[in-house]
């Protein structure tokens, strides 16, 4: 009788033991597969966080190290400003995906017929009601109002360095005046002055998401601080609109990094740019939100990883223990098989085959079951059901590692018995 038949007969006839090992393997597989799926969902969430969280650093004038002057408006810092060249140099450092700096001014907007556009809630004074709080942006997508979620682009695109004379306005203003993406409006910094009037194409429309109570900007209740009365124009357009005014540069600029984990390294590289006098500028990391969320996610990751490891280790100890008890109870059988001349290797192979027969049934069933269990367990760790997926890759990984561990468990359980001579084993049994 060959070992295969013996293995099948043992598995079938000792069905209670088989069932116990089957249940154990099933439970272990389900837990480990679920753990891996949750861990992957966690990793995905971390990666997503790294990709989406607006981690940036701000380069700003260091007024503390500059001189001070005085004029009609009082004293002012004579510290140098950031120039577009400086920003370009900084942005060329690897790992910086975008940057933005902006100039604020109040523009008066009109349609192509020269009729002033009115703010959302007009006061009745035409030259007041046409004033829109406007930002000249390198990239309006990275303006703090969009990054914070207060405003969301709902049509078209943001203004950036590729644009010349473009503008993004609110949906409310667009609707009020029957404007849409592709239309052209006019803008001027100071009407009835030498300031040039420029035609700007509407390339994007944004919606105001912020609560009405948050909508007003910092200073007062003036209607042009209403977010709906904000506008974003390209940096090139703003230069043209402000050509009559001194171009001093930018007080600060924000630089956005691709991988938040690299923020420190990137800042270090930026501060190594020799052509910029870093005594005149401050670099501030804006990663508080990321750090807070990241720490929380990192804690959860550690918890999940620890749980997966603990589950696997406890499970393996348990399976080794049960196999060890099971094989110890078969000491007599081992002695008999050895006495009949069956080799030790053949006996080991029989026991390995028996556990394989159980595993062949348990593993696929665990794979199917773990899909549901992983989702249920995943929600306990704050994961969405869709994100917790047990993949074939998980199954193959756990099956291969599980098989190796099972073989090791059988060997570890058998070796203490099989190293004795058959006489010793049989006499111990008698």
């Amino acid at each position: 009788m060959n070992l295969g038949i013996r293995a099948v007969l043992y598995t079938v006839r000792k069905w209670k033991k088989t069932l116990l090992v089957f249940a154990l393997l099933l439970a272990i597989m389900i837990l480990v597969l679920s753990g891996l799926a949750i861990a992957d969902a966690q990793e995905e969430q971390s990666a997503e966080l790294r990709g989406t969280t607006g981690v940036s650093f701000t380069v700003s004038r260091n007024t503390a190290t500059g001189g001070w002057g005085s004029g009609n408006g009082g004293s002012y810092s004579t510290q140098e400003y950031l120039t577009p060249d400086m920003m370009e140099q900084i942005a060329s450092v690897d790992g910086i995906k975008a940057y933005n700096a902006s100039i604020r001014t109040i523009l008066c907007l009109s349609n192509t017929k020269g009729q002033w556009l009115e703010q959302l809630e007009p006061t009745g004074h035409a030259l007041v009601d046409c004033q829109f709080y406007s930002y000249g942006c390198f990239n309006s997508e990275y303006h703090s109002l969009f990054l914070s979620g207060a405003l969301v682009l709902c049509d078209g695109k943001a203004v950036d360095m590729s644009d010349d004379n473009e503008i993004v306005i609110s949906k409310e203003i667009a609707d009020k005046h029957g404007l849409k993406v592709g239309d052209t409006i006019q803008a001027v910094n100071t009407p009835l002055s030498d300031d040039q009037t420029m035609e700007l194409e509407i390339v994007g429309v944004f919606e105001v998401v912020a609560d009405k109570t948050d909508e007003r900007n910092n200073f007062n209740e003036a209607s042009y601080y209403d977010y709906a009365n904000n506008a974003f124009v390209s940096e090139a357009a703003m230069k043209g609109l402000l050509e009559n005014y001194a171009d001093v540069g930018y007080a600060s600029a924000d630089f956005f990094v691709s991988d938040p984990e690299q923020l420190e390294v990137i800042i270090h590289q930026v501060q190594s740019i020799n052509s910029i006098n870093w005594n005149n500028f401050l670099v501030t990391a804006n990663d508080e939100v990321y750090e807070r969320v990241s720490n929380s996610i990192s804690d959860t990751s550690t918890l999940i990883t620890t749980l997966v490891i603990i589950t696997t280790v406890i499970s393996m100890v348990l399976i080794i223990l049960i196999l060890s008890i099971s094989i110890r109870s078969r000491k007599h059988e081992i002695g008999i098989l050895l006495a009949t001349g069956i080799g030790k290797t053949v006996i080991l192979l029989q026991y390995v085959l028996e556990i394989f027969l159980v595993a062949i049934a348990a593993f696929p069933l665990a794979y199917l079951s773990s899909r549901q269990v992983a989702r249920a367990l995943g929600t306990l760790f704050g994961k969405t059901v869709e994100n917790v997926i047990v993949t074939p890759h998980h199954f193959i990984l756990v099956s291969v590692v599980g098989t190796v561990l099972l073989v090791m468990a059988v060997l570890l359980s058998c070796i203490p018995i099989i190293r004795f001579s058959p006489k010793n084993i049989l006499s111990q049994m008698e």
Partner: protein
Amino acid sequence: MNIMELQNVQYTYDNKKKVLKGINAQMEQGKMYAILGPSGCGKTTLLSLLGGLDSPSSGKILYLGEDIAKTGLADHRRSHVAFIFQSYNLIDYLTPMENVALTSKLPSLPILEQLGLTKEEARRNVLKLSGGQQQRVAIARALASDAQIILADEPTGNLDEDTAAEIRAILKDSAHKSGKCVVIVTHSNDLAKEADVIFRLRKGELQASDRLDGISLKRQ
């Protein structure tokens, strides 16, 4: 013809207690041998050494002139010897037929029927058989194998008189009719009487005697 030969075989337990002190003996095919001796004198140890279940501390055991330590104890157990134990040593998840099939490729039912088991008993779980039936299965397993030597350790020790008598007859036939070399360790004078040669093991030394000596031993 000598099938087995022991040359100055010694065995020491835990490197302290010398159980066998230089045993020399020859065994032939077609004969039944009985090994007698007081409890703990090393009878079962000697049988284990003959069967390759253990190795002697020194000395040689030859099968057809070849040292079994060199040809391999597992090979010796697989090809040359078959055991019958007092406690039957059957595998509990196999039927009698399957237990016999462990050592033989021949159909196992005929030999089981020959030894008195019915077809139904031959397919039953071995643990559901009586002691006598289990011993018959153990004997069937030994007889069904190709082994030329049958080593039996107290084969009738747990059996009633009638069954013991049947087993004695089977073992005797195995030697005299099937030409096997049967070596039996026993306390039973009835069984020893059936042997062609009786070995007496005392104080680690083996003495051979003929059947008459066996009877005289019975008289002691």
